[in-house]
Symmetry: C2
Amino acid sequence: MSDALAPGQAIGILGGGQLGRMLSVAAGRLGYRTHIYDPGANPPAAHLAERVTCAPWDDRAALRAFAQSVAVITFEFENIPAETLAALEDLRTIRPGLRALEVSQDRLEEKRFLRGLGLQTAPFAPVASTADLAAAMAEFGPEIILKTRRMGYDGKGQVRLGAGADLAAALAELEGADAIAEGVIAFSAEVSVIAARNVAGAVAAFDPGENLHKSGILHQTRVPARLSAAQRSDAVIIAANILNALDYVGVLGVELFVTPGGILVNEIAPRVHNSGHWTQNGCAVDQFEQHIRAITGLPLGDGARHADVVMTNLIGDDIDRLPDYLVAPDTAVHLYGKAESRPGRKMGHVNAIIRAR
Amino acid sequence: MSDALAPGQAIGILGGGQLGRMLSVAAGRLGYRTHIYDPGANPPAAHLAERVTCAPWDDRAALRAFAQSVAVITFEFENIPAETLAALEDLRTIRPGLRALEVSQDRLEEKRFLRGLGLQTAPFAPVASTADLAAAMAEFGPEIILKTRRMGYDGKGQVRLGAGADLAAALAELEGADAIAEGVIAFSAEVSVIAARNVAGAVAAFDPGENLHKSGILHQTRVPARLSAAQRSDAVIIAANILNALDYVGVLGVELFVTPGGILVNEIAPRVHNSGHWTQNGCAVDQFEQHIRAITGLPLGDGARHADVVMTNLIGDDIDRLPDYLVAPDTAVHLYGKAESRPGRKMGHVNAIIRAR
């Protein structure tokens, strides 16, 4: 505790979306102030923070003033330009560190890192030509997924290719972006582990949640996930291995595939994660507070799950069902303060608490 | 729903202390923005709100600008000057309305109002002289409590008088403030009901909590309170009667004494209440969100209790125990962002979740 950030100090958060917003609220609960940095005007987190800077990622003066106004910097998403982070790193500690970002920003780097830890992943190969694609299909087939190495999220930047696909056209779609081909995994469930590691190296993980996607975007997370006790501890151990290997400080989201041959790592996100939103209503300490505790040098909290929870995202027109959710039993609504809904836009989520048995 | 405040609209909150701060967070969760008005510099709610105006209660220009920037006005405490409220009421709807404030700002008015509803209270009498005091002591004795009619909270503005007390000195202490004498109630428990009534007239109450005071300040609230089923429903019905009689919109705190002769009303607070903080970790919808729902025209949420909770206030030096609370099992810490602790100052609270049986 002696090295922990004192209450009243300010935390800088890069990115003012819903994750930054919920991080800001959690920071407040621990007595900290927050300063949001976002290139957009009127970002959602601005409604629930002490200070907001709306400036481009390459505005050196704004970045400097931001860094100097806070005691530590964190971020809500992994696709922040490397130059921005490099400029900030000279001025203030950034947690988690840049190594975690480098790994998770590049799907090829990520896969190699995970394999290097002895973890299982989907088969993969870098792709620079139709010949590479054809070879990957022959090896991993009958279907493969072609993905950009960078900037992919919510199913963007990826396409599934089967027999007879026009490989040249698929590659042309990427407009020269570096790419990777992955084999398709026959999984029985996709689960994710939200885990944290603090400055002192302590690790804690929330109970794994089971994810259901729609159109490539997370639709629902349910806890408990349908896992055996052995699978449950495997999942947590995998997350802990990754945290320790990266000397990570903060919350990390780890998406896993459950297969007959064991648990594979799909991808990691070096931040609080949509599949961890259930913790807001299922635990005394949620993922947002756990992240703030980790990066401020506080001890990690008890993230024991005290209820079964079903988290459902409100995406685009889903928001029209808000009146039903507002009166649903034991249901907590979390809106993000976004003015207009658009297809695919995350407007909020609801946590339905399933009574303890 | 059709008349409900649209998401993205702004709510004005008079008072920027911890209650205003937690109201602001709840408003954000429902997609609203908030504007805090507080006479002090850097009030706690300023860290978690979109806008803050720091100006005196009698600054007409600031009040006007504040009112014009929001769609509805509410408050976090009942001792706002009447002139301030009158000035604002001409410009925007204030919820709850001024009738509730008039009643709760004056202990004599409050007691008469409650008796008028057929509810039991402690015996009471207005006091203007030592003769009045002596008469009250003779009638309600052996001990009585002398209280100022206005501006009392957390045990301030009151003194207990027994046989042989210097009545003239006690009265002189009040410096001419209007006063009331109350009989001392032999109660087996003090409980409070946090209840809400929305624009449509719907009423909902949280499970009663049992309060423990230290030095006149709330120390702990435990749910469930030790009440029989009959007492439990009596308590809720009392709260509902008060809400309906005041045509109340918002959350109301009702403090009750449980006695062998039935349940007496001690006092009412026309706002979210310290004894309702347990709802943050015991219910899907907490008292802060219930208040925001009520004043914005939304349906009230399901405030069913899904856990036993012990809420403990962190007052003054209690904050030194923070390191223990941060690592206590199933314990949620809620700090208010106040820089310095002082004796009697509420710095935060902790909710310990007791596992469902």
